[in-house]
Assembly symmetry: C2
Homo-oligomer: 164 residues x 2
DNA sequence: CGACACATGTAACACGTTACATGATTTG
DNA sequence: CAAATCATGTAACGTGTTACATGTGTCG
């Protein structure tokens, strides 16, 4: 979006923006770029010093659509925790309760970890993007862990109420 | 797990257990079954009336591991909402705020929808598994939507505080 | 008899991901 | 000079998913 970039630049940029939480195999950048090129979404400017990729008109439109895209209901993504608990319930109340307890324990530990990351010691006044990114990612994961924990409690209550 | 099953039975079983929220292309069941067989996790019992699949010892072990598996931190799944907001922030405060607002609106609508599904009119005393499944799925999605909304608020606050 | 559920599969594709190979340039 | 960073790619694999083809049995 911000003008022609090397594949390598995109990789480092991605990692910087996400605060280093997610790493990217460089190879994947190039395969993806190839596929985008195949689909006419990016064009390549081959110069003496490597290649530079930029968006085509069509690619810009696609990206615009992505920015505006919002989650639609229809068919929510299949989620492992959901499925696991659902199947456990079908398998019987005891199994369900065991699974719920185990997941709760793990999620609680994870939550603490995320909270620690969130307020990790960093020099005050450090307004770097990556610090913000790290915090936001930690927050997101924490908030979701909390949500899952609440949901597990809800499941437990229902299972206990009308056993199976 | 509950003994030999036809591929078709697994499909209908899956859909029943998940309350019909997720449908499954039957073909996928057979390809998956083939792959599991290739990996020695299931065995096939070919009878006059079709085939029946069951777990091998190894498959049972694998399944046991799955039941006990809990989310580990290391590298959390790449999430579209997260990435979108992160990239938007990098793109500038105005863009970030626009994206956050748009997502919030959509998520709010989605949340209401899930809440409606949760207390959808069903005959009282209907203790069927599928009804419970439907409710639990709706709850899970609702709870997560709430989490994402909270997170969006958090992001907005931060963006407003130290613009970019 | 016709529609529908039961039952089994194949071919193909896309995408995410990894391992591996190669070379130039910069910097300690 | 050696190591790290910059830079570009290829081959391969696994899984999720879809479209398509085919046949039997059952029930209104």
């Amino acid at each position: 979006q911000d003008g022609p970039r090397h594949g390598y630049q995109l990789k480092t940029g991605f990692e910087a923006t996400t605060g280093g939480v997610w790493s990217l195999n460089v190879g994947q950048v190039y395969t993806t770029l190839d596929r985008l090129h195949r689909d006419g979404l990016v064009e390549v400017d081959e110069t003496t010093e490597g290649k530079r990729y930029s968006l085509t008109r069509s690619g810009r439109a696609e990206l615009g659509g992505w920015w505006e895209a919002v989650p639609v209901d229809e068919s929510p993504p299949r989620d492992e925790l959901l499925l696991k608990v659902l199947f456990a319930i079908e398998d019987g109340p005891e199994h369900a309760l065991a699974v719920i307890t185990r997941q709760r324990t793990a999620l609680t530990r994870l939550l603490q970890q995320h909270r620690r990351t969130g307020r990790a010691g960093r020099p005050t006044g450090d307004g770097s993007t990556s610090a913000m990114a790290t915090d936001l990612v930690a927050d997101a994961l924490a908030v979701r862990a909390e949500a899952d924990l609440r949901w597990l409690d809800l499941c437990e209550a229902r299972v206990l109420r009308d056993g199976r």
